[in-house]
Every structure is written in C-alpha cells, then in structure tokens.
C-alpha cells in the first residue's frame, strides 16, 4: 500500500503555517543590525579566549571585529529567514531554529563584551556543568513518560536525593552518599508509582504532592538538624572533583569543555547513550514504549502493564536521584533548602524539547545549560540588562519551548492515563 501525499495545493497551504517563523528570523536579523551595532565603531574588537582556565593546552585567542561579526551573523540569520519564507526547511526546521538561536546568542555575546574579552571555553564548560542535572532529569522524565506515567515529581526526587546524599556523604564518604542519593530517588519514585499505577491517582496531583512533601521534609530536617551548629558536621560532604579523560581532554576547545568534568558528567554521557540504545533497540525498550503508547495492546500480548510501569518509574527515580545528588555532592558540597530551584521542571521542558528522545533531550538540556551559564557570565559584564532579568532566561526559554515554537510536540499516547487491568 503506497503512502500518498494529497494534491499539491494542500501541501503548499501546510507550509504557509511556518512563514511566521521565517518572519521571526528576519526580525531577529534586523534587531541585531539595528540594536547591536548602535554604539559600536568600526574598530571595536571582541576577544574570545579559548583556553580553559585549568587546562594545560593553550589555544590562541580569537579576536573579532565586533561590528563586522554581528553584521555577518545578522545576514546569515536573515538569509535563513528568507529561505524559510520561500522554500522552507521542513523537517530540518527544529535544527535550524537551534542554530539560529545559537548564532543570535553568539552575536549577543559579541555585542555585550565588545571592547573586552570573554572566555568561551569557560562559558561552555559552565554550560556542561549546569546541564548535568537537567539532562539527567530529562532522562528520568523520558523513562517514566515513555511508560505512560507523567512524572512532574522529578523536582522532589532530586531535592530529597540532594539532601540524603549530602548527609550520608558527610557521615561516610562521597560514594556511599551518591549511592544513598540514588536510592532515595528510587524510594520516592516508588511512592509515585504506587499512587499513579496501583491507586490510579492523577499523575500531576501525585507529582505535586511529592514535590510538596520533599520540600517540607528536607526543610524540616534541615532546620531541625543540619542548620544548627551541633549538627553542622552532617552537611559537610565535600564534592567530587573534576578529572581529565586522557586523550579526549587534549582536543582543542571541546576537550576541556566536555572531558575535564567530574564523575556526574561522565555518568551523564554514558546514561544518555545507553538509554537511547535501550529504549529503541532492546526488548525492554520495546515493551516500555508499548505500555506508554497502548497499554491494552501490550496487555493482550501478555505484557504486565502495571509492573512494567512501576519498574520504569522506580528506575526513573533512581536516575533522578543521581541527578539530585549532583546538587550537593557534585557541585557545591553542601545542602541548602530548596536548592533544586525548579531544575526538575526545566528538565521536563528539555525532555519535551527533545520529543522524548534521549539524544535530542540532551541537546535541549545543553540549551538550557547554556542559557544558565550565559545569564551567570554576563551578569559580570556591564550589560544593559540587569542580572535579575538575565536570571529569568532559563525560565523564559522553558515557556517558549513549551509554548510550541518548535511545533506542538506530542508525547506517548497513553501518558498520564492509569491502566485498569480487566482481569477482575
């Protein structure tokens, strides 16, 4: 049976819808030309420092003429807009949008630090660090949602894991702390799974309850114990130090950015690759996706829907626990109340951005990590935009992503729907 496209005029109407985005590109280009070149004379330069602070290899600085660079970027974006208007990027559209976003940001950086210099590898390195909990959280989300359970409780799982990892690592060592952090995520996920799968509670409500509980219980113990001087030793875990991966870390720019990180980053790379393979190439992955898409079909083929879901959610929690441990023992070396600050939700936005696909979601996580690192970095420079407004950037981008600039992304068909086994 051949799959046919219908008459041509209908095709053209479909692509009309994306004209708006072509226009958006052109507007972005104009904004760059008009705004970003205003107070720049022809000889102002922007220096991009490409040597990582802690790296032994030296790379030459990249010195750019600020105005020319901005105009070149604006022209590229403008051309992309015209191409989109006339021909259209069709399915490559998301990729193009990402590239345009990066180019625009680059132009913005060149403008912001014109006449001065900025360390690009430093910026990218912070991007990777900041994206760790987001990407790990997105993996947790994918695992749960692919099985048909909406998991907005990742935030709570992460927060609880950050707490227990910190306390246990303070009492023993970092590795035991990490293990306990992971298990904490799994335990909370077990509660979520029980509510959603066994008791058929509304997934969003269950997640909200868990998030509230996690904030309450961690803050309770925090205030009762680790904030008082008597127990201060409970919140002094230290943290995992970055180490270089031989060979890889010698690659210019990329090496120090990606391969001079701590254990969490390396676990994250492995996780993304393994999960991507497992979901799409293994028996386990096939069954996981089937219960998220059409649980009844899976049931009629002898797959235990609720058991598969419960296990997926618990595994999701273990992964979220890993991501949560990062906040305390992978980053600052202590636990603070509500330290996850909504990263669990941003992770979900990264997941949606990546269409529930691990590799793409990791890309989304890097994007949000970049937004965070840029708002941190530019706060130092005397930019026209105040730091508190810049700090909104990740949240604003999340809303834009969810608002479907990248098109309405549709998740697993049975997401959030409890499955009632008919064997009664």
């Amino acid at each position: 049976m051949e799959k046919e496209t219908n008459s041509n005029n209908i095709q053209s109407i479909i692509f009309l819808k994306n004209k708006r985005l072509g226009a958006l590109f052109i507007i972005l280009a104009l904004v760059m030309v008009v705004l970003f070149t205003q107070n720049l004379d022809a000889i102002t330069q922007t220096t991009l420092n490409l040597t990582h602070a802690s790296s032994s290899i030296m790379t030459n600085d990249l010195v750019l003429n600020s105005r020319q660079t901005i105009i070149v970027i604006a022209v590229i974006i403008g051309l992309a807009g015209i191409y989109q208007l006339i021909i259209g990027f069709r399915s490559k559209f998301t990729l193009v949008l990402g590239i345009v976003f990066l180019l625009f940001t680059f132009g913005f950086i060149v403008w912001s630090v014109s006449g001065s210099s900025i360390n690009i590898t430093g910026l990218l390195s912070v991007m990777v660090v900041r994206s760790i909990p987001l990407i790990i959280g997105a993996m947790a989300g994918i695992l749960s949602e692919r099985s048909g359970v909406v998991n907005i409780a990742i935030e709570g799982m992460m927060l609880s894991a950050a707490f227990t990892a910190s306390v246990v690592a303070s009492l023993t060592n970092l590795w035991v702390g990490l293990l306990v952090g992971i298990l904490t995520g799994g335990l909370i996920a077990w509660i979520h799974a029980t509510m959603c799968v066994k008791y058929k509670a509304n997934n969003v409500i269950s997640g909200t309850i868990i998030n509230l509980f996690a904030i309450g219980i961690t803050s309770y113990f925090s205030e009762k114990y680790i904030q008082s001087l008597d127990y201060a030793y409970l919140n002094n875990p230290g943290f995992f130090f970055p180490f270089e991966i031989p060979l890889f870390s010698k690659i210019p720019v990329i090496g120090p950015v990606f391969f001079n990180q701590n254990i969490f980053a390396y676990l994250m790379y492995i996780l993304v690759i393994v999960l991507n393979f497992a979901i799409f190439q293994t028996k386990w992955g096939l069954r996981l996706r089937s219960v998220g898409e059409h649980p009844k079909a899976a049931d009629t083929l002898g797959i235990k829907v609720n058991r598969t879901r419960t296990r997926a959610v618990i595994l999701s929690g273990l992964i979220a626990g890993l991501g949560g441990s990062f906040f305390s023992i992978g980053s600052i070396g202590s636990f603070n109340e509500q330290m996850t600050a909504g990263r669990g939700f941003i992770a979900l936005a990264a997941m949606i951005f990546g269409k529930w696909n691990p590799i793409n979601a990791a890309g989304g996580g890097l994007l949000f990590g970049f937004a965070e690192s840029i708002s941190l970095k530019l706060a130092i420079f005397d930019v026209a935009i105040p730091s508190k407004i810049l700090a909104m950037l990740p949240y604003v981008i999340t809303i834009i992503v969810l608002g479907g600039v990248v098109g309405r992304n549709i998740g697993p068909a049975a997401g959030g729907q409890p499955y009632e086994t008919e064997s009664k």
Binding site: N6, N9, K283, A297, S423
Partner: protein
C-alpha cells in the same frame, strides 16, 4: 466430526448484578469455523475475553484438547495456543509492523537486543504463505484498516496459535476487504487452524461458518449446523422476538437545500489532508447518507460541519448563511442538531447529571438562564419532561450520565438535540454499539424527522443502515466523495465496491489520488 480442540463448560461472568455470561457451554472442533452470533451486548465479547484471560470467570471450566486449563492472563491463553483478533485493533500506530508483531514474544540477537531482521523475514514468509501482502518495515499508523487487520492475523500466526478468535472482524472492512478476509480465513482452516468468528451479521454467518451458536442476554439460545440453519429463525433467536427487518419509508418529498458543501478540504491532526474537495448538499425532507469505511475523512467532515474545525478551502452554507468559519454555537443556533460519533467524549459530560446534560447546548437561553443566572427549576422541569417522553432509564434525572447504559446515553443526546426546533440533523454513527431495540428507536426517529421536513445527514459505516434509511448516498473514500447516487438507483454491492475505491466504470482498478481529485463530484 473431527476431534474437539476447545470446550467451554458452564462459563458464568457477572458485572455487579448484571450477568454478562450465564452458564455457557460451547465446543469447537478442529478445522471448524464456529460463528458466535448475537446482537451488541449479548455477551459474545465477554465470553471471548474470558477465554483469552482478560476477564476471570465467576464459574466454569475451559478444556483445550481435552485437558483442563487455567487461563489467568492473556499470556496463559497465548501459551495455550489461543489467539484473538480484537474488535478494536491492538496495534501501536507509531511502531512498525515488525515491532507490533514481535511485541511480547521478541526475538533477541544477544542479551536483550532485538533481532528485527530475523522477525521481519518470518513475517514475510507468513505474509507470502497466506497472501497477506504485508511489508514488515511499514509504520502501522500509515496502513489501511484492512491491512492492519492482517497484521493482527500475522501476530497470531507468529505465535503459532491454533485456535483463532475473531471479534467482529468485518465491522471495519469494505465488502471487498471482507471477501479477502474470508479467503484468508478459509486458508487458515485448511492449515488446520480452528476459528471462532464473532458477529452480529447474519449474512456473513451463512457465508463463512460451518456451525452457528446463537447467544442472547448471556445465554446460548440455539445451536445449528450452518447448512441446516434458517436465516429468519436465526434472527428471531438472536433478538428474542420476531424482527421486522424492513423499515417502512414514506415517499420522498424533498424541499429546498438546507446544507450546501462546496469544495471543502480539511487538514487533519498530522497536517495531512483528511478531506479533499468535497461537495454535496442536503435538502429538506431527505436523508443524505455518507457511506464509507471508518477513517476515510467522515469524522473530520462532520467536525467541520458542526464548526469544531475549519476547512482550509471551500465553503459550507446552512440555510443560505455561510458557516465555513462559524462557531459551533452559531451553527447550533441556526437549527443544527448533532449526534456525535463518539458520544461519551463529544456528546456528554459523563460525570455531570442527566439534567445538566440535557441542557448542555441551551443552558444560556431562557427559560434555563435569566440574566446570566441558572434557573434550577426550569432545568429540573425540562429534565423530568424529557426523561419521561424519551423513556430514559433510570427515570432519575439527577444521576451522573456515566451511570446510564449506552442506549440510554444515546437517548439523552437525542432528547437534547431534537427537543428544540431544528432544520438539520447531523447523525454520525448513531447506532454504533447499541442494542437492537435502541437501533430501531434511533432509526425510526431519523425517518420521522425526515418526514417532518428536516434535512438529515447520516454518516455511517454500516452499509445496510445507509441503504435502508437514506434517499441519496455519497460514498467517501480517502477523503473524497467519489460518487453520489439516489439510493433507489444503485445496488448495495456497487456502493460496497465504491467504498473500496473501485472505479465502477473499470472495476479492475482502484482509484488513485489524482483520479480522486478529478472524480470529485
């Protein structure tokens, strides 16, 4: 008679106080096609779900090849050699054919890694052996319903099932596809498989089966060899009373055009054109039927006619007013009644009371609302009146509508939609899933409306219903209306061929898309 492969003894299954199966005994012989005949809600599907391990019976035993078996789950059934083609296909649209077939019984290369290539080869072999023409790499969501059903059959063959249950397999097929299905079924029997064929269509029973078992209200009420069976007697057994299979229809008195559809095209969810330059009109006092297999654009067309989605091109006029971009409310206010296809999702608010559902499209008008305030008394009076006159049971209008049976839920919708002055009725699959009594009621009501001068647009996948009720019939195929005929001037078989996209002037050929556009009427 050959050996008995399956025996059900004394199967009883209740849901609350309702006995869906009451002490049912059935035997199936090797290489036999047993037809399980009964109307909707008689308990056929429940029985088969018991056999397939989806329901646990309250009482009764199952024997396979003389051995008592304990079937607790579908997995047990599959292991016992039982396979089932469900009425609603159990396929995952975003998976490939291979993935759908292998699911639950996966072949792995090593560790847990799927061996897709090997499974695909097996599927090709099975497909060739039974002439099923299945491409293992296709995405299931892109395939036609007929092909999807063949995937369901391959799923069973892949699992070496010997006893095949087919639940209403012809309901979603064109007559041509039904013919092909019957060929497949016969070749399966030749290979030594035994088949239980569930249906409520007498004609099919007579054509395909060796033996017939009639079920009514959860009980076996008759058994016969097909060659000895008599159609009228079977019908009476099935329904429990003599049935008048012919509706009396008064002569047509068509008036002026009420609904005019010109060149309408509609985009579906996946940005695919679901409706392709469709034109037709419906006049006062006639029933215009739209025939077609499910999924050929009827759903989208109806949604556009009632204003839920808007066409990307073309015009729709109601009583001369352009309603192409009108809101559902405007269209309702112009006198359109809509009996939606999915009555639970579109027609009702299940958790709300019957009384609220009865005013769902008029709550803002007097007497139900005055100065934006809800008038509880008027709503209750209206509910009491309608519950009585439309015989909605239970008579209490303050129960949530979810607690009503399917037939009574449909009555709530009919009562709401027809208890006000209307010019046009759009009825989409109005009898689907209803019992015979409710079907009769609904069909008579539609005819009555026609005789009162209403324009009726009837969208149905039931060819018999279309032929009996409508004055003119338009056939939809892949989003186009490929032919419009007076019902009196075309035979049912030709409509069936049209539903399969066969060009009547050249029956060897199925219409291509370009021809569809050219042929649009």
């Amino acid at each position: 008679m050959s050996e008995i492969v399956l025996e059900l003894r004394g199967i009883t299954k209740s849901f609350g106080n309702f006995k869906a199966n009451d002490n049912i005994n059935i035997t199936l012989h090797k290489g036999e096609i047993l037809a399980l005949l009964g109307e909707n809600g008689a308990g056929k599907t429940t029985l088969m779900n018991v056999l397939y391990g989806l329901y646990k019976p309250d009482q009764g035993e199952i024997y396979i090849n003389g051995q008592k078996v304990n079937i607790q789950s579908p997995l047990d059934a599959i292991n016992a050699g039982i396979g089932m083609v469900h009425q609603h296909f159990m396929l995952i649209p975003v998976f490939t054919v291979t993935e759908n077939v292998m699911l639950g019984n996966e072949q792995v290369k090593y560790l847990d890694v799927l061996d897709r290539a090997d499974t695909a080869t097996r599927i090709r072999k099975l497909s060739d052996a039974y002439k099923l023409q299945i491409n293992p790499d296709a995405l299931v969501g892109d395939l036609s319903v007929g092909l999807q059903q063949r995937i369901e059959i391959i799923k069973l063959l892949y699992r070496d099932a010997d006893i095949l249950i087919m639940d209403e397999p012809s309901a979603v097929l064109t007559p041509k596809e039904v013919g092909e299905l019957f060929l497949t079924v016969r070749s399966l029997v030749e290979e030594g498989k035994s088949i239980i064929f569930i249906t409520h269509k007498l004609r099919e029973v007579m054509e395909i089966s060796n033996r017939i078992c009639v079920i009514r209200a959860g009980k076996v009420v008759g058994e016969a060899l097909t060659k000895d069976a008599d159609v009228n007697r079977l019908a009476a057994l099935m329904v429990g009373r003599p049935v008048d299979m012919n509706l009396t229809k008064s002569p047509l008195r068509a008036g002026k055009k009420v609904l005019e559809v010109e060149n309408v095209s509609i985009l579906g969810r996946q940005q695919k054109a679901e409706v392709n330059r469709v034109s037709f009109d419906v006049r006062e006092g006639e029933i215009f039927g739209i025939a077609g297999v499910q999924g050929n654009g009827q759903t989208e067309l109806v949604r556009a006619l009632v204003g839920l989605i808007h066409p990307i091109e073309g015009r729709i006029k109601l009583l001369g007013e352009d309603i192409t971009k009108a809101s559902p409310r405007r269209i309702t206010e112009l006198g359109t009644a809509h009996i939606p296809e999915d009555r639970q999702a579109d027609g009702l608010v299940l958790q709300s009371e019957v009384s609220d559902n009865l005013i769902l499209n008029r709550y803002y008008l007097p007497p139900f609302a005055k100065k934006h305030l809800i008038q509880t008394n008027a709503i209750n009076q209206n509910a009491a009146k309608l519950v009585e006159s439309y015989d909605i049971r239970p008579r209490n209008p303050h129960v949530p509508v979810a607690k009503l049976s399917g037939g009574n839920q449909q009555k709530v919708i009919i009562a709401r939609e027809l208890s006000r002055p209307i010019k046009l009725v759009i009825a989409a699959q109005p009898t689907r899933g209803l019992d015979v009594g409710s079907i009769e009621y609904t069909q008579k009501r539609l005819l009555q409306l026609r005789d009162e001068g209403c324009a009726v647009l009837l969208v149905s996948t039931e060819l018999d219903e279309i032929m009996q009720l409508s004055d003119r019939v338009g056939v939809m195929y892949r989003g186009s209306v490929i032919a419009i005929h007076n019902t009196s001037e075309i035979v049912k078989e030709d409509v069936g061929l049209l539903m399969a996209g066969v060009d009547l002037t050249n029956p060897q050929k199925v219409l291509t898309s370009q021809q569809l556009v050219d042929k649009s009427v």
